[in-house]
């Protein structure tokens, strides 16, 4: 029994493939043009890079980052070179950091109705995930 458990654990540790988890977004109201998708990305045994993303729910999807100046002025900018994810390491797209920006929402994001997003990487094949739509004030995947 313990040998079986060990085998399972070992196989988990060695299935070093890039993975996307805890994908979430915030509900929007009618007429709101933009939304954001957050996720946790863990690279496999090779380093990778989140290059772009797409979703049928928005006209344009871009990877953005949040930058704050010393004067308290914040800006969100499209990330041109993508988001680097070191081999075996995890990058969290989260509020006040990186996010996938949905521009020109075709319909409001409704709490409890997941949306489909595809993430494109420089190495790994595209990964399509369902993002859970949480409250407008959610700060993390578990924040509900």
């Amino acid at each position: 029994m313990s040998r079986l458990l060990l085998l399972i654990l070992a196989s988990c540790a060695w299935s070093a493939e890039l993975s996307v988890s805890k994908t979430w977004s915030r509900a929007t109201v009618a007429g709101q043009e933009a939304g954001a998708v957050f996720a946790t990305i863990t690279a496999g045994s090779t380093a990778d890079r989140l290059q772009s993303a797409s979703s049928a729910i928005a006209a344009v999807v871009e990877v953005h980052e949040h930058a704050a100046g010393a004067d308290g002025v914040v800006q969100m900018r499209a990330v041109i070179d993508g988001v680097a994810i070191g081999a075996g390491s995890t990058v969290e797209l989260k509020p006040r950091s990186y996010h996938i920006m949905l521009i020109g929402l075709k319909q409001p994001l409704v709490k409890g109705t997941p949306l489909t997003v595809t993430l494109m990487f420089s190495q790994h094949a595209p990964i399509t995930v369902q993002a859970e739509v949480l409250d407008p004030w959610a700060m993390a995947f578990d924040d509900r």
Binding site: V29, V60, A68, V73
Partner: protein, 203 residues
């Protein structure tokens, strides 16, 4: 007889330690937010969604939490408004003495209906304010809020974001800015602790 000086020294030392501790605690409390000494009085004329005028005189008698943002803002504004709600929750019954306000810096796109729906999705207690671009700019200037429309770089025609100051202003019952807080620097519990003493007692 030798015990008395020792006792006195002990008392004096304790008193010094206590005052130093109090000073340190006060200093720490001050550093959690930025206290603006002798801030110039706020002056603005904006409008609520029903068209009624809302100016600095409407701030008197209640504590206000005021944030400037825009509804197309995908990350920063929901984060800050969410933080304001969490601060209100931490205030408990005293929250009834604190009025959250959202001022749009994007009157071009943020129609009154959109503003109302947006703020209500966060909390029904929000007052949403807008005005002409000149009125909004004057209000922002009065608070020291900077906002700049980004040069559109998106593939979506006409779409733009606005770089802006991410600060929640705490305005006391006399209509003075007493704190500049932000979800980046102060957790909701600490913010509530800073706001609690200036709210007055619930009715």
């Amino acid at each position: 007889m030798m015990r008395r000086p020792v006792f006195i020294t002990g008392v004096v030392t304790a008193a010094i330690l206590l005052s130093v501790t109090i000073a340190a605690v006060r200093l720490e409390a001050r550093h959690q937010g930025t206290v603006i000494p002798a801030a110039p009085p706020i002056r603005f004329t904006l409008h609520r969604s029903d068209g009624s005028t809302f100016s600095e005189t409407n701030l008197l008698g209640r504590v206000h939490l005021i944030y400037f943002g825009f509804t197309t803002c995908p990350d920063v504004c929901p984060t800050e408004l969410g933080w304001m709600i969490r601060v209100l929750r931490r205030l408990g019954p005293l929250a009834s003495q604190v009025q959250p306000v959202f001022v749009t810096i994007d009157p071009e796109r943020d129609t009154p209906a959109k503003l109302d729906a947006y703020t209500a999705a966060f909390d029904a207690r929000f007052i949403a304010l807008s005005g002409s671009l000149a009125e909004v700019t004057a209000a922002a200037d009065s608070f020291g809020v900077v906002f700049r429309k980004q040069t559109p770089v998106s593939k979506q025609p006409g779409f733009y974001l606005i770089d802006h100051t991410m600060v929640t202003f705490v305005v006391d019952r006399d209509g003075r800015i007493v704190q500049r807080l932000s979800s980046r620097d102060v957790d909701p519990e600490s913010a509530a602790a800073l706001i609690r003493p200036i709210t007055g007692s619930p009715p």
